[in-house]
Subunit: 148 residues, 4 copies
């Protein structure tokens, strides 16, 4: 089991303001925007941990990471007054899949949490074929695994 990457903060947290255009006429962030927040946080997490993310995976490496399952729980609403901090950790590191655990907070208040599962697949063939997570990547993700 690999140790923390030098110079990286644990856990990874992505911070961003909630935008006017993300809130709906109930004056709180529209439900689907939370999935955007979670996916953007995961994109930043991968860039930080691996030095590459969805775009580089697809453009430079010939593989992709389609998501196969997402589950989100909404704990308290967000408004454009809020600065949202989404923590990203890894709940499970499978042979060719990763389960991300996300928790979004405004200060100490939890706004949402959830789990998102993606598969590693070869995108060079006609069909999307699962591939093993490359060992150099697996090693860099292990320090983010939630213990137990």
């Amino acid at each position: 089991m690999a140790g923390p990457i030098a110079g990286k903060a644990y856990p990874f947290v992505e911070t961003r303001r909630v935008r006017w255009g993300e809130a709906d006429p109930a004056r709180i962030a529209y439900t689907p925007r939370f999935l955007d927040y979670a996916m953007e946080a995961i994109e930043s997490f991968l860039t930080d941990r691996l030095g590459a993310s969805f775009y580089e995976f697809n453009m430079d490496h010939g593989w992709g990471t389609p998501f196969v399952q997402v589950e989100l729980n909404f704990r308290s609403p967000l408004t454009p007054r809020d600065m949202l901090a989404t923590e990203v950790r890894i709940a499970r590191l499978g042979g060719s899949s990763v389960t991300f655990a996300v928790t979004g907070r405004v200060g100490d208040r939890v706004s949402y949490d959830g789990r998102l599962v993606c598969a590693f697949v070869d995108t060079t063939g006609p069909a999307l074929k699962p591939i093993a997570i490359p060992p150099r990547y697996r090693e860099r993700l292990e320090p983010d695994l939630i213990p137990g």
Copy 2:
């Protein structure tokens, strides 16, 4: 238990083309867009069944329907060549919550399915207080309940 509403089709299906701008550089619909599809289908479903939806609930009636939990499973990718048909049914009709069951298909192929839970709340006070689903609405939703 109320019967079907005269003149309505069962189950409710919302059909729409997948858009160029909804697909990402992997050339398939971006994961969070599926939650937009599901929510838009539910919005159309409510308008069809109740003659009112999120906007009228909030603007005209003083109550809202915040979502508390969503779960989506991605079965096969979507591209802008696809015409997506999302079926909306009701998995559970609680005292002040509704669990929607959605299934998105392109022809016979299932692209995604999921469950989304919303609560009925009073939005006129300082905090969001759960309220009972109005009986006239409950009655019009019962025919969409999945049996068993």
Copy 3:
């Protein structure tokens, strides 16, 4: 100058409901959503007139249609109560560019109008090189030209 395409309606009009999630806390459609509406109407227009649009251009033909300029005027707000009908016509058919003229209405009320210019480019090389609009496409777009 080619005549109207048999079986097609003139002018082309794309109709769709304004969505809850497209409106902001001012309870009207958020400004950038109008550009989504215009682009989606153009996507549908091209599919109707040419039998192909952005996705087929890029995936099947090796050329693209990047937009180089857009201008939108907002005449009256939209809400999720509105059914928006966006008319698409062609203001100018250049050698390798098209200027679309769009007008969005709710009934007789104009909500927005604008002009959007795209270029036809070869996407198979390292740089995007302008190409002439294929004659078979030009012919099918001519009937949509605004006279004068």
Copy 4:
């Protein structure tokens, strides 16, 4: 004419990464996303200069700033590899309207520029009535005016 606000940087620049989900199957940012970028930069600009933006205007002050015209020119494409820096300045400060001038760059390369005009309106009555820009706000925007 008011001078620069102490402690503020001139011109205002909003920096953010281009996201995977903002790029389309041509593998560059989708045209309407540029209007999102411009509007988000203006939202941040107003928050920085005035200590309030769209949400506070509407929720706390009873007035709004609907946009009446936007014009964007696309100079070079963006991809998720890019860190976009959007500069916001003021081209014109009218009695009850503001014209923003935006320029988006990746390093030295210009990706887009444009002008966006908003009106200040009273939102408490049945119709949107233009109001004069509050003097305390006008004063704080003057240092961002493009000379000449």
